[in-house]
């Protein structure tokens, strides 16, 4: 279990404010945070069901980590670069990725990683920590071109053991790139707890080694995550360089739908500790109720709208033209090499077409 003390917190689990947010976070943004978190949670649950029904491939759920992803990605501007891992589709969705595109990715479609027009949402990164150095490069290019954009890279606690984590922090520190490194410390890298991952008590303290601010935040407090990310963005755009943010959170479910978390942790106790006491959505709802920003009628309307939006996206994804075998030969190079062109001809042709029959 990660240390839960000395975290930056703005909103207590009871929905009380610990500092004045009036001039920074308006009610419209707060409602947007809530609606986004409700949407992505419903999307996440739907995805797990779809995998169980055989309509999607292996899926990496994020339930429990909504505030970490929504709070940080909502702080971005449209042209900012987002580097999600395979668990960060909530962040991708609020930065502009369509729900149907995310479904396509998990359905194994060749076009599942296309970024929406005008957005720089990178494909979900599978090899751990490797995307962090890309976020240094894109931010570096923004700086060289004098464009006011930051790059936000997500990673997990396990990634902090990888060499690329250190190389990314070091490069970003040296070249003062406007990169935000956002660690969702959910306590486990699949099954290995943080205490076995590192003798470091925190991920944030690693920033000191590279002279980068390292901030520890309550990752289930969407206000704290948003405010911290905003400050890091402003710092980056002011030319002051990167920031390392460690948000403490918890994934309620398995690492992926192919994983059984009961093998390595007591799901019941964790559910009690996190879902019932520190849930990010419940927490924000308590605040909104107290401040008259929400009511049951709006909740019912939102749930209905979210269900419809997800169903519509699923219909879109399931009726999207299937990837064709020949698609695998496209986009390996700008111009295919002779080998690729010839090998494409070796594909069995569907019956009825000229050539070899399937």
């Amino acid at each position: 279990m990660s240390e839960l003390t000395n975290l930056y917190q703005v909103l207590t689990p009871d929905g009380e404010l610990l500092e004045n947010i009036g001039d920074k976070l308006d009610d419209a943004m707060i409602v947007k945070m809530y609606e986004s978190m409700v949407l992505v949670r419903a999307f996440d649950r739907k995805s797990v069901h779809l995998q169980r029904q055989g309509r999607m491939g292996t899926y990496a759920p994020f339930e429990g980590q909504e505030a970490a992803q929504i709070g940080s990605a909502l702080a971005l501007s449209p042209g900012d670069w987002l580097f999600p891992t395979y668990r960060d589709h909530a962040a991708a969705i609020v930065h502009g990725q369509s729900l149907s595109r995310v479904f396509l990715y998990w359905m194994g479609h060749m076009e599942g990683s296309i970024s929406p027009e005008g957005k720089n949402i990178m494909p979900p990164c599978v090899p751990i920590a490797t995307q962090m150095v890309h976020a240094v490069g894109t931010a570096w290019a923004s700086k060289l071109k004098q464009e006011k954009h930051v790059s936000l890279a997500f990673f997990g606690d396990g990634a902090s053991s990888e060499g690329d984590f250190h190389e990314a922090l070091n490069f970003a520190g040296v070249f003062k790139t406007p990169t935000i490194f956002l660690c969702q410390n959910n306590g486990y890298a699949i099954s290995v707890p943080l205490a076995q991952q590192s003798a470091s008590k925190t991920i944030a303290q690693r920033g000191a080694a590279y002279d980068i601010p390292g901030i520890r935040v309550d990752g289930n407090d969407v206000f704290a995550v948003w405010l911290t990310t905003r400050a890091a963005i402003e710092r980056g755009l002011a030319g002051l360089g990167p920031t390392l943010i460690e948000v403490i959170t918890h994934r309620y479910g398995a690492h992926t739908t192919a994983d059984d978390p009961t093998k390595y942790r007591d799901q019941h106790i964790l559910a009690e500790e996190w879902r019932s006491k520190r849930d990010p959505i419940d927490r924000l709802r308590k605040y909104m109720d107290k401040h008259g920003l929400w009511n049951e009628m709006r909740e019912a309307a939102l749930n209905k709208q979210v269900a419809e939006q997800i169903d519509k996206a699923l219909i879109e994804a399931e009726s999207y033209p299937k990837s064709k075998p020949s698609d695998m030969f496209q986009h390996v190079y700008a111009e295919p090499t002779w080998m690729i062109k010839e090998q494409e001809q070796e594909l069995p042709k569907p019956k009825g077409e000229r050539g070899v029959t399937a």
């Binding site: 296309i114 970024s115 494909p123 490797t130 890309h134 894109t138 690329d164 700008a334």
Partner: protein, 327 residues
């Protein structure tokens, strides 16, 4: 106008001209700034283009290659120098899992127009792991192009093509002949196309396929055997390792009916096997003898006191020619 340059001078000139020609081009590497690179390939470029475009990086190959991937996705054209080919391994994952795949994963939305330059090959009395020839690693990865010039003219023209190529190119520079000879090189920019071999020496009795520093070894052997035995050997400098110039390979063996591949890479799974496979597919009935490989042995490149015995020599190549012609 042209003047005589070495390979390393031709490489410097190509980078200099592209830095001047295209503001997106930048150099990254270890000791490439003030020091001008361990082989001086970037000598003088920091003074000319400043530290934003000629960047001395921290000593971390994954960091260099990974950040260059990000730079290239966001509009820059980075040329990365890796000090020696065997030092590339910490950055291998970045090359294989990202540089080579970004275009594919995003269906052409993002691409990685970067060049990774690195000296390769044995014969310079280097310490351990300064002499490798592992071009096959990269030729095996869809999404990469692999180039290895053997002359100053080709070095400049191929490097300019590599910098202008929209896909990542691994640019292998034969360390041993960096300064071995000079050749006329035009002052202006010109391009040598990637994927095209050249006939380095015409002949009728046997085709020798080589690249990098092995081209000169093949040419020496061809000259000697002509003098000693009267056989005429054609030497094809492949220049690009992926994609191989199949037409040039097939055209030559259809003429000669015999072939030999010389490479300093380890024999097993080296590119020689791929060349034999092309001949098998396209020209088997023209062949009068099995295709021979004179290659580096399947051992780690040894310490330098015996590295010359590891490398293919003109003597070994001559023996191979004899065995093939007298098969």
């Amino acid at each position: 106008m042209s003047r005589k340059l070495t390979i390393i001078q031709a490489i410097t000139e190509a980078m200099d001209q592209k830095l001047s020609d295209d503001q997106r081009v930048m150099l990254l590497g270890e000791d490439i700034g003030v020091n001008g690179g361990v082989f001086r390939a970037t000598d003088g470029l920091l003074e000319k283009y400043g530290p934003d475009r000629v960047v001395d990086t921290p000593l971390a190959e994954a960091g260099i290659i990974g950040s260059a991937i990000g730079l290239s996705m966001n509009g820059m054209i980075p040329i990365v120098e890796i000090q020696f080919l065997a030092f590339i391994y910490p950055g291998f994952e970045q090359i294989v899992s990202h540089a080579a795949r970004m275009r594919y994963r995003t269906r052409g939305q993002y691409h990685v127009p970067m060049v990774i330059r690195t000296p390769y090959g044995a014969g310079i009395r280097g310490p351990e792991l300064h002499s490798e020839s592992v071009e096959t690693f990269f030729a095996h990865v869809p999404g990469l192009k692999v180039v290895a010039p053997s002359s100053p003219y080709d070095a400049k023209g191929l490097l300019i093509s590599a910098i202008e190529d929209p896909d990542p190119v691994i640019f292998l520079e034969p360390t041993k002949i960096y300064r071995a000879f000079k050749e006329e090189v035009p002052e202006e920019m010109y391009r040598v196309p990637i994927g095209k071999a050249k006939v380095a020496r015409e002949g009728n009795d046997l085709s020798i396929f080589a690249w990098g520093a092995m081209v000169r070894v093949a040419e020496d052997a061809a000259k000697q055997i002509e003098r000693e035995r009267g056989w005429s050997c054609e030497v094809i400098d492949l220049r690009t390792i992926y994609p191989l110039d199949r037409e040039a390979i097939v055209k030559s063996v259809k003429k000669t009916g015999r072939a030999l591949v010389v490479h300093e890479a380890h024999k097993t799974a080296g590119m020689g096997a791929e060349i034999i496979s092309i001949i098998n597919d396209e020209a088997l009935i023209y062949m009068k003898a099995p295709v021979k490989r004179i290659a580096g042995f399947d051992v780690p490149v040894p310490q330098f006191s015996i590295e010359d015995d590891y490398l293919p020599t003109s003597e070994r190549v001559k023996l191979g020619i004899e065995q093939t012609i007298q098969f």
